[in-house]
Symmetry: C2
Subunit: 212 residues, 2 copies
């Protein structure tokens, strides 16, 4: 009766959305975040208004697109973070997972980090302007840190600061590395882990006066 019919229609509606998202994905990965709605519609074999009916506006489409990739990346990172190993091993594995991901698919990475080119964000939200991916990674890492480490009083606050800070470190270093490729990935991972392991504080001053 209605149920079967409705289910069919529902599924068609859902899978249509998927198809549209995949078409959008192809276009965005080919043309960059500046891909026009017309281009995406053409790739999907349809016209603009359908996209707008499904996703509201360009921001909605881009948000849906970003969520897919963000979810996928976060899953990999969680796996690396949950592996049974020493703490430093886990940190390095997580860094390496992230860097391998952005190395393998730089276009996806670039798209995820520049969501604002799609969504308008008219209200001038000071702060919170970072890519949602960064925020989500920061919060996830904060949660893991707070669960596993004994940081004394104020541990929750501290864990969140560290979560966002470490993610930012990873992001900025990765972005720079991706642009200049100054060293192999493993070396970058090791250098960053060294930084987190306090080698900055432990280093000796250079000869001549009080050091940095």
């Amino acid at each position: 009766m209605d149920t079967t019919q409705r289910t069919d229609q529902q599924r068609s509606a859902d899978s249509r959305r998927r198809e549209l998202l995949e078409a959008a994905d192809r276009v965005v990965l080919r043309d960059g975040p500046h891909a026009s709605m017309n281009a995406i519609a053409a790739e999907a074999g349809i016209t603009k208004p359908i996209l707008y009916r499904h996703f509201g506006d360009k921001g909605g489409l881009y948000a849906a697109l970003a969520q897919r990739h963000t979810d996928a990346l976060l899953d990999s990172l969680r796996a690396a973070l949950d592996a049974p190993a020493e703490r430093r091993q886990r940190v390095e594995a997580t860094l390496d997972t992230y860097l391998a991901a952005i190395e393998a698919r730089p276009q996806v990475y670039r798209f995820l980090m520049h969501p604002a080119e799609g969504g308008i964000t008219q209200g001038f939200d000071v702060g919170k302007h970072s890519a949602p991916l960064l925020r989500r990674m920061g919060e996830e890492l904060a949660q893991v840190i707070e669960e596993r480490l004994d940081l004394g009083p104020g541990s929750q606050q501290l864990a969140r600061v560290w979560g966002h800070g470490i993610v930012g470190m990873m992001h900025a270093a990765g972005d720079w590395w991706l642009g200049e490729r100054p060293c192999p990935r493993q070396e970058l991972v090791h250098s960053l882990a060294d930084l987190l392991w306090g080698r900055l504080a432990a280093a000796d001053d250079r000869t001549g006066g009080p050091g940095f």
Copy 2:
């Protein structure tokens, strides 16, 4: 007469640019990075083509605008970094300077971090998509680290990784903090410095299994 006239005209040519930049500054700070060229021209009391004659395109205007603010911020950071004090004191002072700056003028901060909304960047430059401010801060910090610290072999590479990494940490944590204001600035500074001082590596596992 001639001289005064000529001087007037010359200075008008030079300072015209400054006036336009200041008008653009007002509009961007009021309306956000989405300010239109028409709006900027109106604020300056002129019309669009003049802006284009002075700055080429919107990206040029925004670049000129960004450079002013970036230079100013970098000057403050250099001052904090060069102050005569212990290493940890300097690190904290630099973090605090940066955070105080973004706290005091969040609109400037937001504008500096979103340059891509102005310039088109059609060619899909993977990597190098970060705000120029981040890159410049990273490079400056790398230079200071390499000058002052004895890091053994590969010190230059390591210093650059750390420079960009630390800047990214500061940026991401600052962005998150600016959005949520979960704690006073001084506490954030202290937490980040602790992170750089290896407290992550030194922390004990929480009871129950191998820690993070």
